[in-house]
Symmetry: C2
């Protein structure tokens, strides 16, 4: 087996440079070549070592500067020249990032790779707004989906793009996390209402989570398509778990009854240490 470089497919997280992992930070400092998506902010690229060559391989709004096949070839070429490469992908590499296709390509070429997970945008958005995504009182699961398509590769002739199947949501115990909701909100609302989700289900649209440009709109399923769209990239959260106020009464009751006793217990626990 010939000596060659290694490809690190690294999650860049949601945008805040403090929300990349320690490992991503180390790999950026060590890399000689960094191939990054458009969405990775300059503050994260600034963490790279001075020896790093940094190439934007992003595709912005359909204007493809570099094709997916060319990205694959850049990685393979670098590995064959014995250069370690960081392929820096926004969020987590395994979510809506064509990771499978990049891995197939690397495996065909016999190139060694490693994946470094990152914080995906929806989790960062929930954290930034103080939301839990599951809650044993209301939501037992989380469905991450994209608004504008189900399976189907529009670049492959004979492949059909089909709409998502939203059955199973009528019970209301699923939190929805919808990526790339921008142009499909009215259609999505109709589909989710038709699937039996109540019109007053809490919904939040978060734009550019964890960056200085973060914006959000709190609304309901019925109103998700109202108003001006927020700037991309954005993520849409829908579900009863987002509305913790419905549980505030019981929490307040318990707090009023128990807080004095509990603080005493807490001090006792700390005193034991």
């Amino acid at each position: 087996m010939e000596t060659q470089g290694k490809i690190y497919l690294v999650g860049a997280g949601p945008g805040d440079p403090e929300l990349i992992t320690r490992k991503a930070h180390r790999l950026l400092q060590e890399a000689r070549l960094i191939l990054h998506d458009d969405l990775v902010p300059a503050e994260i690229l600034a963490l790279a070592g001075s020896q790093a060559e940094i190439v934007n391989v992003g595709k912005r709004c359909g204007a493809k500067r570099i094709t997916q096949a060319e990205i694959n070839a850049l990685m393979i070429d670098a590995a064959r020249r014995c250069v370690d490469v960081v392929r820096l992908k926004s969020g987590d590499p395994a979510i809506f990032g064509r990771l499978g296709e990049e891995l197939n390509s690397l495996e065909q070429a016999g190139v060694t790779y490693e994946i470094v997970p990152g914080i995906t945008a929806g989790f960062a958005a929930a954290a930034a707004l103080g939301m839990s995504l599951t809650d044993r009182r209301t939501a037992s699961r989380l469905l991450i989906a994209s608004a504008h398509h189900a399976i189907g590769d529009p670049n492959q002739p004979g492949t059909e793009t089909i709409r998502p199947d939203w059955s199973g949501l009528q019970r209301g115990d699923t939190t929805l996390m919808i990526y790339m909701p921008g142009h499909g909100l009215a259609g999505l609302r109709e589909e989710l209402l038709a699937a039996g989700l109540p019109a007053d289900t809490p919904a939040i649209i978060v734009s550019r989570a964890t960056t200085p440009q973060q914006r959000h709109r709190e609304t309901t399923l019925a109103e998700i398509a109202a108003g001006q769209p927020l700037e991309a990239p954005s993520v849409l959260l829908i579900g009863r778990a987002l509305d913790r106020n419905r549980h505030a009464h019981s929490a307040a009751h318990q707090a009023a009854n128990d807080i004095a006793t509990l603080v005493e217990q807490a001090e006792a626990i700390l005193a034991e240490k």
Copy 2:
């Protein structure tokens, strides 16, 4: 408003100390009090500053050493004593971590908090095994669920625990990520088969992902309950996106045709820089 400490509810990630965020690392270095779950490994706690008081508030296998109400009281008490607290939760705080209940408690007490997301175990497991969780060729979405219950709090009288609703999965374009699958695998298999998921759907069980004790078993839906259970904590992934080999033929065909041209293009792109 009185001066007080702040509570940071911080994701500790899946186990590898390099997979915590830079922000989590900084907060651990600065904290005076760290309240951590059982699952957080010693290597991560070792990143704390020497001034930090470190308290294990974990519940192991039902032997509750400290109740949820006591954890809440510990946080509130520390904040009132003007101490910044890191509440360190394994994985991501918003997934299966009772975050909603802790936030309700802090809000009732008027305590300021901030949530720092972390890499959740299932994403780390997928990365460790080279798996994509969505793939536009096969899987358009990801459903994160727990094996052993739907909504329902067993500690609240009058609350019923109900089984999950798996309808909507028969199309096969959803990747499933099941947390805490340990004791419910046989029942889960029957439910998923009944929901229309093919018996040969690829499945992987990953135990203690990203730690030196990581183990995994590649199997199919039909066989998920076979063999000895892997050590907890584990996560179960199920879906066609896990089997990229089905796409290898077309990838190989394209690679054989195009690789020479693409490497030339790649070198031209690099030469332009």
